[in-house]
């Protein structure tokens, strides 16, 4: 057990991170920044997994495993997202998300 730090503290941190990520996702116009916001969201989830695993089921490993998966998926997602961003840049000479609306209806 980590002395003096309860599960609530982890949840508070994770929640703050999550909403920071969501805020960034909605507000920022730069595609790279949006990608970073997504990483924040994913990592807040990871914190939750690890914290709950530690505090509730110390003998089991599922939480750790899931967070490892999430890290792997985040890596893959980042690779795909950056590829898309590169293509968007080539196509539109910029990565402002508001210009990426050519696929509507």
């Amino acid at each position: 057990m980590i002395e003096g730090i309860g599960v609530t503290d982890f949840i508070v941190v994770a929640t703050i991170m999550f909403f920071v990520g969501v805020y960034g996702f909605i507000v920022r116009k730069n595609l790279i920044t949006i990608l970073m916001s997504v990483e924040l969201i994913l990592n807040s989830v990871n914190i939750n997994f690890v914290a709950f695993n530690k505090y509730l089921y110390p003998d089991l490993l599922q939480g750790y495993m899931i967070s490892l998966f999430v890290i792997g998926i985040a890596a893959a997602e980042a690779a795909v997202a950056i590829a898309i961003i590169l293509n968007v840049y080539r196509k539109l000479q910029g990565i402002d998300v508001e210009h990426v609306d050519t696929m509507k209806y």
Binding site: V22, F25, V27, I34, V97, E98, V100, K104, Y105
Partner: protein
């Protein structure tokens, strides 16, 4: 020993081949060559038919004194599943062989005749292709082994008739006539089809021989079942007769036949006088065992329709002025005779006299009516008009046509020793034995027939001597050959002892001239001829006075009892206005309307909401997250209650 009759399959097959060759390559050949191909083929068919008839009737068609029904070929054509297969084959028995002879004879003569008549016409090879198609289908019809094959060829002759009536397709009246013929007969064929389905639903077979088996249990069961006061079998047979009545122009389905005269005259001779229109008679004769043994009520219908039509058509024929229409109504009247004869007949021995009479009259009628039409064609060819009023005194210009036409007119009037006398005599004897009403109807029709035929004859060949713009000339050799051949046939075929060959139970028997009947019918025919001579032989005869004496009747007959007008009234005024229009309104406004309404609503709604899809990723994300938060708040709030 049995002769192998399997070569008869070649009769229809060569005709089909001729149709395909002339039809597909006719425009590449020279017209006369394609005509020649068709003619040679039909002559070949005629020779085969004569040979078959000779073998069957005179050599070895009989076993123990009874004519055998021979299935010369039977191929499975269409198999649906084990118990339902449609076959095509060749059935030989006295009536089918007789029909083979009739069809190939008349068809050959028409082929030869058309060389002269159609010379130089546009579409000469098309004409011959259609003639081959018709001959093929008609032969397929008469040799059918089962009802379904008959139905298929039945429709094929309908199509050929349609094509040939509309041969002059640039003439609107010909197009209208061909459509009329097709639609009216199709309407009747609907009854035929329903009849076939009813019959085969109960008996599980289309095959004539199986249907005719005297101990067929399914037939007995059908005769026992009753539906709306009639046994199902009677109903089925009446429906089948409806098909026959349509094809044979029986009242009230006769309206197409007079208009069918728009076709070339040789076609009228072949299809609308000698062969196709008697298909209805042949159909009833083919199923005669069923009619006579199990459903006498249906036979009464046949007799009544036949008798009425013969009288009705004869009355109309009195006043028509288009010579082909006179002949058309005369054909209807004579076919009514055949139907009457079938209707008064019963099964077996001398009881089946009407059956023999009907087939005999079919045979003789084909000869003399074919001749009359071909003669009329020769006259039209010479005068360039169909109207009797444009003719007169033609006997000097057209000697051959005159003599042959006279023979045919005498034959149809029933003057001995020409063929019509013999067949009409046994029809009247059969009617006499059945019911006096039928006999006197037939007797009156005989008188009317003699009158209108000689009205025609005298107005064409006698009457006033006209000055013709072009001097009428005798027909070319090809035409007069056919006239002479059929003239000889009309004169002599009456001497064939028909009851030795054709009888309802396939057993030969003896018939004798019924003296009273013969005297009565000859007397009435002579009266008819004399009256016609008085009225029409000299110019300014008594005709006009008679017309003035009974103006109402004259107009009624001239306008064919207004049957066409009644049909038009019923279809246009009643069916179109009160049935078709409401249905069309319902279709346009309710059926289409609901579909169009749905599309309209979808279109409008999608226009309204398409702004939601802005393409702005962040807007989507915002909506999604707002929704999730809202949902989470809702669940929390709900859970806390």
């Amino acid at each position: 020993m049995q002769t192998n009759f399997s070569y008869t399959i070649w009769i229809p097959l060569v005709l089909l081949a001729s149709f395909l060759v002339v039809g597909l390559f006719g425009d590449k050949l020279r017209p006369r060559l394609s005509g020649l191909i068709s003619t040679v083929v039909i002559l070949f068919g005629a020779v085969l038919s004569y040979w078959t008839a000779f073998q069957y009737f005179l050599v070895n068609g009989k076993a123990d004194g009874v004519y055998q029904t021979i299935v010369a070929a039977d191929y499975e054509w269409l198999r649906f599943y084990d118990t339902l297969a449609i076959k095509m084959g060749v059935l030989l028995d006295p009536i089918s062989i007789m029909m083979l002879v009739v069809v190939t004879t008349i068809s050959s003569m028409v082929h030869i005749y058309s060389f002269g008549y159609m010379k130089g016409e546009k579409g000469f090879e098309r004409f011959y292709a259609f003639l081959s198609l018709f001959s093929f289908s008609m032969i397929g019809l008469v040799i059918a082994t089962n009802l379904f094959q008959m139905y298929i060829f039945w429709e094929l002759v309908g199509v050929s008739s349609f094509l040939l009536i509309g041969f002059y397709y640039e003439k609107p009246s010909a197009v209208a006539a061909s459509k009329k013929a097709f639609i009216v007969t199709r309407f009747a064929d609907f009854g035929f089809l329903v009849g076939i389905l009813l019959l085969s639903y109960f008996t599980k077979t289309f095959d004539f021989q199986e249907l005719m088996q005297p101990d067929n249990a399914a037939i007995a069961e059908m005769a026992g079942l009753s539906f709306m006061g009639m046994s199902v079998l009677t109903l089925a047979l009446v429906l089948i007769f409806m098909g026959g009545a349509g094809k044979s122009a029986m009242f009230p389905l006769h309206i197409w036949l007079p208009d069918a005269m728009e076709g070339p005259t040789p076609v009228s001779a072949l299809i609308h006088a000698a062969t196709m229109v008697v298909a209805g008679v042949y159909l009833v004769a083919r199923l005669f065992g069923l009619y006579a043994l199990h459903a006498p009520d249906a036979l009464s219908v046949v007799a009544a329709v036949g008798a009425f039509t013969s009288l009705f058509a004869a009355v109309i024929a009195l006043t028509q002025t288009d010579i082909k229409r006179v002949l058309a109504f005369s054909t209807m009247s004579q076919i009514g005779y055949m139907m009457l004869a079938l209707g008064v007949s019963r099964y077996g021995g001398t009881e089946g006299l009407g059956y023999t009479a009907s087939m005999f009259h079919l045979f003789t009628h084909a000869m003399f009516k074919g001749l009359l039409f071909l003669g009329a064609g020769a006259i039209i060819h010479a005068v360039h008009s169909n109207e009797m009023t444009d003719m007169g005194g033609l006997r000097k210009y057209l000697p051959i046509t005159h003599v042959t036409f006279l023979i045919a007119a005498l034959a149809i009037s029933g003057i001995p020793p020409f063929s019509g006398f013999f067949s009409k005599d046994i029809i009247l004897s059969a009617a006499y034995e059945h019911h006096p009403v039928y006999f006197w109807t037939g007797w009156a029709v005989a008188g009317l027939t003699a009158f209108y035929m000689f009205r025609l004859y005298f107005s064409i060949f006698w009457g006033e001597n006209r000055e013709y713009e072009h001097k009428p000339h005798e027909a070319p050799f090809s035409m007069s050959f056919a006239l002479i051949f059929l003239g000889i046939m009309s004169a002599v075929v009456g001497f064939i002892p028909f009851s030795k060959y054709v009888s309802s139970d396939l057993m030969p028997y003896e018939t004798h001239l019924h003296m009273n009947v013969a005297v009565l019918s000859v007397v009435v025919a002579v009266i008819g001829i004399v009256v016609a001579a008085v009225m029409y032989m000299k110019p300014g005869g008594a005709a006009d006075k008679v017309v003035k004496a009974v103006p109402g009747l004259y107009k009624l007959s001239l306008h064919k009892f207004y049957i066409d007008e009644i049909y038009l009234f019923v279809t246009h005024k009643i069916i179109f206005n009160y049935i078709s229009r409401p249905i069309a309104w319902f279709d346009r406004n309710v059926v289409d309307g609901s579909m169009n309404g749905m599309a309209w609503v979808t279109n409008k709604v999608s226009n309204k909401i398409k702004g939601l899809q802005s393409g702005q990723l962040q807007q989507y994300a915002f909506v999604m997250i707002a929704g999730m938060v809202g949902l989470a708040l809702f669940v929390l709030y709900w859970a806390s209650r």
